[in-house]
C-alpha cells in the first residue's frame, strides 16, 4: 500500500481557521506520505487539534486547501472525508460505552458496509456474507491490538488505557490511508505508553498509512516520528526531522519562554 513517489498522501496548504475574532490557525501547511509518522507538537492552544479537526472536516477553513492523494477535500463533510480513507482517534475517547469492544470496532467499519436495511434485515445471503466479512476484519484488528480477552466486554467498563486502544481499533477498522491520532498516550503509565508506541509502529509497518500524531511526551515523539511539525499560536514555527527540532531555538522558546539547553524530555 506504499504510494511510493506519487506525492504526499495528505497535504495541507496555507490553512486559515478563525473562530470569531480568534485566529486558530494561520497559513499552516504540511505534507505526509504513506508509511510516514508525522508528529504534530506545540504548547497547549497551539492549534494542533484544530488542524486535525480541519483535515477530518469538522471545521471548514476560511482559506487554504487540503488534498488527499492529490484530490482536494477542502470543506467536505466529515463522513465523506472518512469515506475517502481518513480515520482518527479522539483526545477524549469516544466509544459507545454500552456496546462491546467488538461492536465498537464494527462501528468503525460502517463506511465499508454495503448491505442496506433490507438485505441486513433478511440476513441470509448477501447480508450474511457482508457481516461475516466485517466480523473477520474486526477480529483481525482485535488480534493485532491484543484485546481478544475483552472482545465481549462493554467498552464503558474498561480502564482508560484499554479504552484508548479500542478507540485506535475503531479507527483502524475503517482501513484508513490517513490515520490521525490525537494524544493517544495521555494519562497512560510508562508500560501502557510502551505498548501504544509498539502498536503505532506495527500499524505503520503493516499497513503504511500516513500517520499524524499529536503527542506531548517528547521522548515518544523524538523516538518514533519521521518528521515533526511544531505549531505555536496557530502558526507553524518549525518543521524537520527530530534531531533538527531538538535543537531549534524557536521551538525551545515556544515551549519554555527562553532558550535553554534542550527540549524537555529530548534527552532520555
Amino acid at each position: 500500500m506504499l504510494n511510493g513517489d506519487r506525492g504526499p498522501r495528505l497535504r495541507a496548504e496555507d490553512v486559515l481557521v478563525r473562530f470569531g475574532g480568534v485566529t486558530a490557525l494561520s497559513g499552516v501547511g504540511m505534507d505526509v506520505r504513506g508509511g510516514e509518522i508525522l508528529a504534530l507538537i506545540g504548547p497547549n492552544g497551539a492549534g494542533k487539534t484544530t488542524l486535525i479537526n480541519t483535515i477530518s472536516g469538522v471545521y471548514r477553513p476560511a482559506a487554504g486547501r487540503i488534498f488527499l492523494d492529490g484530490r482536494e477535500i477542502t470543506g467536505r463533510a466529515p463522513d465523506e472525508v472518512a469515506r475517502r480513507g481518513v480515520a482518527r482517534t479522539f483526545q477524549n475517547v469516544s466509544l459507545f460505552g454500552g456496546m462491546t469492544v467488538l461492536e465498537n470496532i464494527l462501528v468503525g467499519r460502517h463506511i465499508h458496509m454495503r448491505a442496506g436495511i433490507l438485505a441486513s434485515g433478511i440476513y441470509w445471503g448477501w447480508g450474511e456474507r457482508d457481516e461475516l466479512r466485517h466480523r473477520e476484519a474486526a477480529e483481525r484488528i482485535i488480534d493485532f491490538l491484543e484485546i481478544s480477552h475483552i472482545r465481549k466486554a462493554a467498552a464503558g467498563t474498561l480502564p482508560y488505557g484499554l479504552r484508548k486502544r479500542v478507540d485506535l481499533g475503531r479507527a483502524l477498522a475503517a482501513e484508513p490511508t490517513v490515520l490521525l491520532l490525537d494524544e493517544p498516550m495521555t494519562g497512560m503509565n510508562r508500560e501502557e505508553k510502551e505498548d501504544m508506541v509498539r502498536f503505532i509502529l506495527d500499524i505503520s509497518d503493516e499497513w503504511a498509512p500516513a500517520i499524524v500524531l499529536i503527542e506531548h511526551d517528547m521522548g515518544v515523539v523524538m523516538d518514533i516520528s519521521n518528521r515533526v511539525v511544531v505549531l505555536d499560536h496557530g502558526r507553524k514555527i518549525a518543521e524537520g526531522v527530530p534531531d533538527q527540532i531538538r535543537t531549534n531555538t524557536d521551538v525551545l522558546r515556544a515551549y519554555l519562554g527562553a532558550a535553554p539547553a534542550a527540549v524537555p524530555g529530548a534527552a532520555r
Binding site: L102, R135, E136, E139, R140, I142, D143, F144, E146, S148, H149, R151, E191, E194, R198, L201, D202, D205, E206
Partner: protein, 660 residues
C-alpha cells in the same frame, strides 16, 4: 501397512497411525480471530511433514536440538513432532522466562534452531544471541512487528513450511526419501520413510526442570519412556478419541508434553489451544474439556474465583450456596476417609445438584469434566474436598519429569486424601532407609543432558531418587510428606513440613502465596502474599482505597482480614504447628526475582537469604515492625528501590496450649 501390525513405538509414528486410520477427525484446535479453528489428524500430519522437510532443508538432522518458546500453539506442537520425525530433539522452554533464563537452557541444550512464537520471544532471543553460538536459525510464528528485522537466520515459520513443501523433488532429503519410499513420495508414505528412520530409544524430549535448588537440568526422555508411561497411565485413567483437553499450561512443563502430546497421540483425544493467556478461563468454559490436568495453583484459583462469586452474590444465594457447599465438603471429607454417605447427604445432594452444584461446575467450565487430575505439587485437602463436593472427581497424581510425569495416580474410585495413590502399572516404589521415595519404571529418563555427574547422583541401581520424603500406606498408596531436604524440626523437635502449613494457608482465597518458617525455631511463623485480585475485590466492596499491591498489602484492614484467616486456618493445624507470627510481604514472590520457580514452588534457601532481616524480626519478640528496602525488577529489566516498613502481626495461640 506394516506399521499397524506392531504398536507404533515413536510419537511421530503414532501421528502417522492416526492420520491413516482416522485422518478426518479433529486433532487440534486453536481459537484465533474469535473462532475455534480446527485441524484434523491428516492436516496435522501434513503440517508436521512439511515442517520436517523444511527443517531438514535448514540442515537440521539426527540428534540436533530445536528449542521451542511460546504459548501453546498448534505450530509449536507440530514443530515438536517434526523435529522428532527427523531424529532431532525438541527442547521446550518456559515462555515467560527472562532472556537470561532462555539463554541458559538454549545454550546448554546447544539448540541449532529456535522456534519462537512472536516478536516478544524473538526479542528475548536476539538480546542474548551473542551467547548462543549454536543457534543458526530463529523461526517465528507471528510476523507482527518483525517485518523490518534484518537478523541473519531469522525467518518466518511459514517460510519453512513453504521451503518444506517446495523441497519435493529437490534437495538431499527428498532424494533419500525417494529411495526409501519408492515412487509417490508425497503424503503418508514419505512420512513413513521418515519415521522408520527413528527408534523408540531415541531421545524424544529434553525437558528443563524448574529446579527449586538452583540451576536447572535437562532431563532426556526417550520415545519408549514416554509412550510406555502413557500406556500405563491410560490403563488406570481411560482417555479416548472423543475426549477434549485444553492445552494451556506452559509447553516447557513436562505435564503439558505428557498430556497434550503423549496422551493425545495415544488416545486420539483432541487438543485445544486457547486464544491468549488472558482468555484461558473463557476458552476453558467454551470448550468444556472432558479431561484436564492442572497443578494445584490452578484448582486453587478456580476455587478462589468461585468464592469471590459466592461472596458477591445476594444474601439468599450466598446463604444457600454456602450451606450446601459446606455440607457437600463435609460429605466429601467423610467419604474420602472411608465413611459412607448418609440419607441426609443424599437429600442435600438431590437439592444441591440442580440448585448450586451444576451451576458452579458450569461457571467453572467443568460441566463435561470426566477426568480431573491435580499434580506437580501437593494440594490442600480442602481444595480436593470442595471439587469432589460439587461433583468433580478430582484425583491426585504424583510424579516428576525424570519418570516421564506420572508415577502414581489415584484411580477415580480409590481416593484417599492423604495419599497420591498407588503406582501405575510397571512402576515400582520403594522407601529407602532415610525415608526418601525411590522409583523404578520403564519411564525413567535416559540421563541429564551433558551432566553425567548429576545423572549418577539421581539414579541408584536403576532406582530414581525423587528427593521427596514419603511412606507407603498398608494399601500400597504413596504418602508424600514434603521435599526430603525441607522436612525439618522446630526447636523442641516437632517435625515440621513447611509445605504442609503453606498449603493450609493457601486454602484461604485471600492468601496467594505463603512461606512457612520454623526450622530450629521456637514456633512457626509465616510470610504471606495476598491475592491481589481477590483482596482487591474485597477492598473495593468495602471502599478501602489503595494505590497498588504494596499499599494494599500493608493496609490495616487487610491485615485484620488476613489475621482472621490465619486464626481460622490455625484451628486446622496441630497446636504446635500453628502460625504465631506473620508478615504480609510488600511484594509478590516472583519467578523473575528467582524467589519461586516458573512452576510456582518456593525456592526456600534463596528466600531465607533474601528475607533474612524479616525472618529475624519474626522471631524477635521485641520487633513489631521491620523496614525493608527492596530492589524490584520490572518486566523491561529496569530496577527500582522500594522502601517500606512492614508490620509484624502476632496471633495469640488459639485454644488451649499444651503444656509440655
Amino acid at each position: 501397512m506394516t506399521v499397524r501390525d506392531a504398536a507404533p513405538a515413536t510419537l511421530p509414528a503414532l501421528l502417522l497411525a492416526h492420520a491413516e486410520t482416522g485422518g478426518a477427525r479433529i486433532a487440534i484446535r486453536e481459537k484465533e480471530y474469535g473462532i475455534w479453528q480446527s485441524h484434523t489428524w491428516a492436516q496435522s500430519l501434513d503440517r508436521v511433514h512439511a515442517l520436517a522437510k523444511g527443517f531438514a532443508q535448514l540442515g537440521f538432522g539426527r540428534g540436533d536440538r530445536l528449542a521451542l518458546v511460546g504459548d501453546n500453539r498448534p505450530e509449536l506442537y507440530w514443530a515438536l513432532l517434526a523435529a522428532q520425525a527427523l531424529g532431532g530433539i525438541p527442547v521446550p522452554v518456559y515462555q515467560d522466562a527472562t532472556a537470561g533464563e532462555l539463554q541458559y537452557a538454549i545454550a546448554h541444550a546447544g539448540a541449532r534452531i529456535v522456534v519462537a512464537e512472536d516478536q516478544e520471544q524473538v526479542d528475548k532471543i536476539l538480546e542474548v544471541r551473542g551467547q548462543l553460538p549454536a543457534v543458526e536459525h530463529i523461526l517465528y510464528k507471528d510476523p507482527k512487528g518483525l517485518r523490518h528485522y534484518a537478523e541473519p537466520g531469522l525467518q518466518s515459520l511459514d517460510g519453512v513450511f513453504a521451503l518444506g513443501r517446495e523441497s519435493d523433488g529437490a534437495g538431499p532429503l527428498s532424494a533419500s526419501l525417494a529411495r526409501a519410499a519408492g515412487p509417490g513420495t508425497n503424503g503418508p508414505a514419505a512420512f513413513r520413510a521418515l519415521v522408520e528412520g527413528i527408534g523408540p530409544e531415541d531421545v524424544a524430549l529434553i525437558s528443563y526442570t524448574s529446579g527449586t535448588t538452583g540451576a536447572c537440568k535437562g532431563v532426556m526422555l526417550s520415545h519408549r519412556a514416554l509412550i510406555e508411561t502413557g500406556r500405563s497411565f491410560l490403563q488406570v485413567v481411560p482417555v479416548g478419541p472423543s475426549d477434549e483437553m485444553l492445552a494451556y499450561l506452559p509447553m516447557a512443563w513436562v505435564g503439558d508434553t505428557f498430556f497434550s502430546v503423549v496422551i493425545a497421540l495415544l488416545s486420539g483425544a483432541a487438543i485445544n489451544c486457547p486464544e491468549s493467556v488472558e482468555t484461558v478461563r473463557a476458552d476453558f468454559r467454551e470448550i468444556g474439556p472432558t479431561v484436564t490436568f492442572a497443578p494445584p495453583r490452578i484448582w486453587e484459583s478456580l476455587l478462589a474465583q468461585c468464592q469471590v462469586k459466592i461472596e458477591n452474590a445476594d444474601w439468599l444465594k450466598r446463604g444457600v450456596t454456602r450451606r450446601l457447599v459446606g455440607a457437600a465438603m463435609q460429605e466429601a471429607r467423610r467419604t474420602l476417609q472411608g465413611g459412607r454417605s448418609t440419607a441426609a447427604d443424599r437429600v442435600r445432594r438431590a437439592v444441591g445438584e440442580p440448585l448450586v452444584f451444576a451451576a458452579l461446575r458450569d461457571q467453572l467450565g467443568l460441566r463435561r469434566i470426566r477426568v480431573a487430575i491435580t499434580g506437580g505439587a501437593p494440594i490442600a485437602p480442602e481444595v480436593l474436598e470442595f471439587f469432589r463436593g460439587i461433583g468433580v472427581n478430582l484425583t491426585q497424581l504424583y510424579g516428576m519429569t525424570e519418570c516421564s510425569t506420572p508415577a502414581t495416580v489415584q484411580p477415580g474410585n480409590q481416593v484417599k486424601p492423604d495419599t497420591v495413590g498407588p503406582p501405575i502399572p510397571g512402576v515400582q516404589l520403594r522407601i529407602d532407609e532415610t525415608g526418601e521415595v525411590l522409583i523404578a519404571s520403564p519411564g525413567l529418563f535416559s540421563g541429564y543432558f551433558h551432566d553425567p555427574a548429576a545423572t549418577a547422583e539421581a539414579l541408584r541401581d536403576g532406582w530414581l531418587k525423587t528427593g521427596d520424603a514419603g511412606l507407603l500406606d498398608p494399601d500400597g498408596h504413596l504418602v508424600i510428606l514434603d521435599r526430603a531436604k525441607d522436612v525439618s524440626h522446630l526447636e523442641d523437635g516437632t517435625v515440621f513440613a513447611p509445605q504442609y502449613v503453606e498449603n493450609k494457608l493457601k486454602f484461604s482465597p485471600y492468601i496467594k502465596e505463603a512461606v512457612a518458617l520454623g526450622h530450629a525455631r521456637p514456633y512457626v511463623a509465616a510470610m504471606v502474599n495476598i491475592d491481589p485480585e481477590v483482596v482487591g475485590n474485597w477492598a473495593q466492596r468495602r471502599q478501602v482505597a489503595y494505590s497498588g499491591y504494596t499499599d494494599l498489602a500493608q493496609n490495616p484492614r487487610v491485615a485484620d482480614l488476613v489475621t482472621d484467616e490465619i486464626r481460622r486456618i490455625n484451628e486446622l493445624l496441630a497446636p504446635e504447628l500453628r502460625v504465631r507470627r506473620f508478615v504480609v510481604l510488600h511484594k509478590e514472590l516472583d519467578p523473575d526475582d528467582a524467589e519461586i520457580t516458573r512452576t510456582r514452588k518456593v525456592r526456600r534457601r534463596f528466600v531465607a537469604e533474601k528475607y533474612a532481616p524479616i525472618i529475624e524480626a519474626l522471631y524477635d519478640p521485641a520487633a513489631s515492625e521491620i523496614a525493608v528496602r527492596a530492589t524490584v525488577r520490572y518486566e523491561d529489566g529496569r530496577e527500582a528501590q522500594v522502601s517500606r516498613s512492614l508490620r509484624i502481626y502476632s496471633l495469640d495461640p488459639v485454644g488451649p496450649v499444651p503444656v509440655a
